[in-house]
Symmetry: D3
Subunit: 235 residues, 6 copies
């Protein structure tokens, strides 16, 4: 009944390739089915003004999509400015990644995570968070190898997965054909078995608490699988 | 233990005054404690291009804050463009209100709901949704009285309330002193006993599923109270 | 013959309510008939760069209109940037208020006066100046009570009123139905019986020096009445 | 006592050279002392949307300054957008020129008057209005010669002059050294012996009605002289 | 003597992988040494307004760089708008590709070529032209297979290569270490043995006609090699 | 066969009038036929941030066109921002002028050259470079006279001329009627008999190396003539 033939609780095939660009301190290309996101982490020894002399680190994120990452070409944001949707997504990525960082251990420096969607088929913000954590971890490993950071500021991986109600059923990891039909869908960000962010929206629909519980169950399963892949990629 | 002395499950005093401006088709001033939002609804017989000749109506929202609505003056958005936060809020308000509208019954017209924060003390987006629904309902009543709309497109009120974890406890309806301290907080939008939107974020923290459940319980209680006030205001 | 039935030299009913917001150092809601403007004054201990270490104070103003303050909804300036008209008005308000300030007595600090039109029915810039002075005065009184300012930098109130030629007659304080018909109209800003600013424009019309004199007579009468109301509001 | 040695009621030497560019339908270079403005008029057979099928013509103006027209170089507006001051000036020029146009006689077409300051020494907006009228007249003469306009829509010239209070004295036609010192100054736009616009501002000062009268006397004298020069230039 | 050890007339290793994204009508990933550019071609049945009903086709290009494509992170253009450099490059790419298109044969449709730099090491605009032609050709092949285009509008490949004077010697295909040192460098675009565009710039240096001739010789050699690779990729 | 009747190797009549504005440190009005450009040079004792404390000087340029410099009125860039074409031109002017400057001899200061096109008939960027050098030289002479610069940082004039292929023939110094027809045209910037910049573009056409050689011959002839005029203007 799912267009892809997947089970309701079955994720798409996910792969994470690291070290894909020569310049960035950390990088990976994450593929969640046909959604491909290039994530890079840049270490910047300067922090934003409000953190100067605080001893605390910062992690922030930016998100973009190549114009033809989608089925029909989108106008290039460099020509038109970032849309509200783009800003909302990059605020979510940054907030999610920061929830998994010990900012004292990171020390007074900033890491900027860029998530650029090369090809989109639903779930780009979740792939960005999951892949963004890998890029971030690789950059931190470089800092630790150099002795610039002593205690690891990243304990558990941060991962995210979408869930929604498609054709009346709770399903895990919506692809674009499902996403464009689902009246209810959202994203769950977790770390170490705990929740960081829940965003569950309905467009022209509603959902019950029982359905919300079912979606949370699916999300826990999906994030557990992603976490294993993340740990494999950075070890 | 709450700065205001309220119980953990106790909302601030809420009042909704209707008919507060002479020009708008629907309007109210909603006060949730010291958070005051002026909501107006404007009927526009033109719909956005993607709905032309569809027979379907549309509801959209815009949100703003007066520069000195806050404790320290904020830069005027008219000079700087809408921030990502503002755009995110107004997208949420519009999506939430649309979830409670029968767009066929509304007919091919648009209603624009403007939510302008006169004074802010936490919870402005929730007050905007709750008050915005009242302004919307009043505008629809005007359309029905004129015979332009026959069947009421608004059945159940849409209302929203914030919840969060403050000082380790789940609390209802955070004011600004709580909001600025809480590591976990979010908003619940509901209609007719069902969920429309859940946005629960952690900044530098996490939360368990048990806490999530406790917050959902609080939200259901708060929304039920708001719904009674909304119904009183529009009858 | 005036749409409102007023005499040619009769102002609309004016009220000034002070202390209307909890955050601002000075505030009032001025109502000139159906024109309602919320004025707030914010004390900022930093001055603009060109005044650093000069010992001189500064007063500046910003002006805005809620989108549905008018009969038909206007596009939100936060989305489109301030129009030339808005910038012209806020420059006038700032210049007018500064003319009534002893900038040495104020000391090296800035006061920002925000004038936001809640409901518009003609004469919003004059109401902003008149109400803006009240908010400014209240903020200065706070500075004097705290001992931060010793000698009062605000001696006489600054007030403004519109005049114009409507249906061939010189009239005082145009409301919107008159303003949209009048070929000649303008604003007079005064303090202590002297002029600060005269702006008298014709659109597709002209006026004689005799008419100009008649308009000045009306303005003097109107400003005298406003001044009494201002003094009442701040004492 | 004037820096230039002029009498208080003495204008600078004014010259108006016509036909200075090969492309524009009307053009002149007006020199008011060291203030040099290039004015061009462009005929556009399309009118703004609000005039479509009205049978009425329109005249509008744009104003600019070359970056090094002034004593110290100003930032190029093409890089930064038009300032509030620029917009205010071009609105004044357009409004002033329209007051002297019979829009029925002009017919449904638009004339755009561009006023670009090549060299500035005070009074650029007045020179723009006075020279702008000449360019406009020349373009209209072309339309009449071609038989596209039958009855002359421009009867009396529109001219403008600045006045102010410098060193305690009312003076005519301020140059930059006077303008930057004067606490009170403004512009008078007239046509056919009648007023179109009065803008008299004080910055940190005030002025009496008697002074206002004196300034009006000076303006009438100056405009009469400019009108003769305009008529000479276009005949 | 070249940092890479290459001969003065030796290009970097070039590879062109086609069909790299699922959505675009034509696509390739071109790698010129460490410079990697993703090129996609989008067919749009609408043409720009100036070509409506002309029967002529159009090809245009846009260019971007991921923020961390470079050694130090660049600010994201979506946040700041396209730089002058970016606009200059995308104008060059579009002009170059159009020179190799029979616009009558293409028919009244537009093809948009997006060139996004994934990793930069000098020569990104040349790689964009060379790879952009491949993406364009693949899209055209799709149109021909569908019978929408009958006669091939692309006869000879368009290719581009950089040349410059490095350490006093004329060299082919500068990489970033050379490019940042060279006082003279530029780009040559060719098709079918003819020149389309020559852009040879000196920064703080000059060059003789004899050197110009030497650079042209190198360019001809490089373009011939690229052309073979392009033909291989699209056959 | 050329619309103007000129020989293929014949430039338009060129004149350079210096000292045309009272404020700028150097200025000229260059007329190349009907193309008229006002060039001013402004000395700024501050350098861009990347040159602070380097001891090196900087020369930069800005370019603009009055809206009615052209046959049909163009939209004012102050209202719309600088086009890609404008930015490309001003980058070329700055780069060209810098190639003729000894930046050590200039000392740590910046000279800004503004080139504003009063009337356009083809070749505005070349006229800007040629006239810009004259304005620059005059400003430098002022610095040398004041003893602020000891050794002349400008040895040979920098001049530029356009060439192209019109009606199958290589021609020198295209005017607008030729420029709008030519499939191949470009600009050559030279100093002291050497090349600084070659930009030769084809739009929907190509050219051979033999033609390129012919164009270079023409450019050398043209630049030699311009150089004599420049030297005459500044001596």
């Amino acid at each position: 009944m799912r267009p892809s033939g997947r089970q309701t609780n079955e994720m798409r095939k996910v792969s994470i390739e690291t070290g894909v660009t020569m310049h960035a301190e950390g990088s990976c290309l994450i593929k969640c089915g046909n959604t491909h996101v290039l994530c890079t982490a840049t270490i910047d020894e300067r922090v934003p003004p409000f953190l100067k002399n605080s001893g605390l680190g910062w992690v922030t994120a930016e998100y973009g999509m190549l114009p033809r990452a989608t089925n029909t070409r989108m106008r290039r944001e460099a020509k038109n400015g970032q849309s509200g949707r783009t800003q909302e997504i990059q605020r979510l990525i940054g907030r999610s990644l920061r929830a998994g960082v010990d900012r004292v251990a990171l020390g007074e420096r900033q890491i900027v995570v860029d998530c650029d969607v090369i090809q989109a088929d639903g779930g780009t913000r979740c792939a960005s968070i999951t892949g963004g954590w890998v890029a971030l971890k690789l950059a931190v490993q470089k800092l630790m190898k150099a002795g610039d950071v002593i205690s690891d500021p990243l304990v558990d991986p941060v991962a995210a997965i979408s869930c929604g109600i498609y054709a009346g059923q709770e399903v895990l990891d919506l692809d674009y054909p499902e996403d464009s039909e689902a009246g209810v869908d959202g994203n769950f960000v977790m770390t170490g078995g705990k929740l960081i962010e829940v965003q569950m929206s309905a467009e022209g629909a509603t959902y019950s608490r029982a359905q919300m519980d079912g979606l949370l169950d699916l999300a826990e399963k999906g994030v557990a699988e992603l976490t294993q892949l993340q740990l494999g990629a950075v070890s």
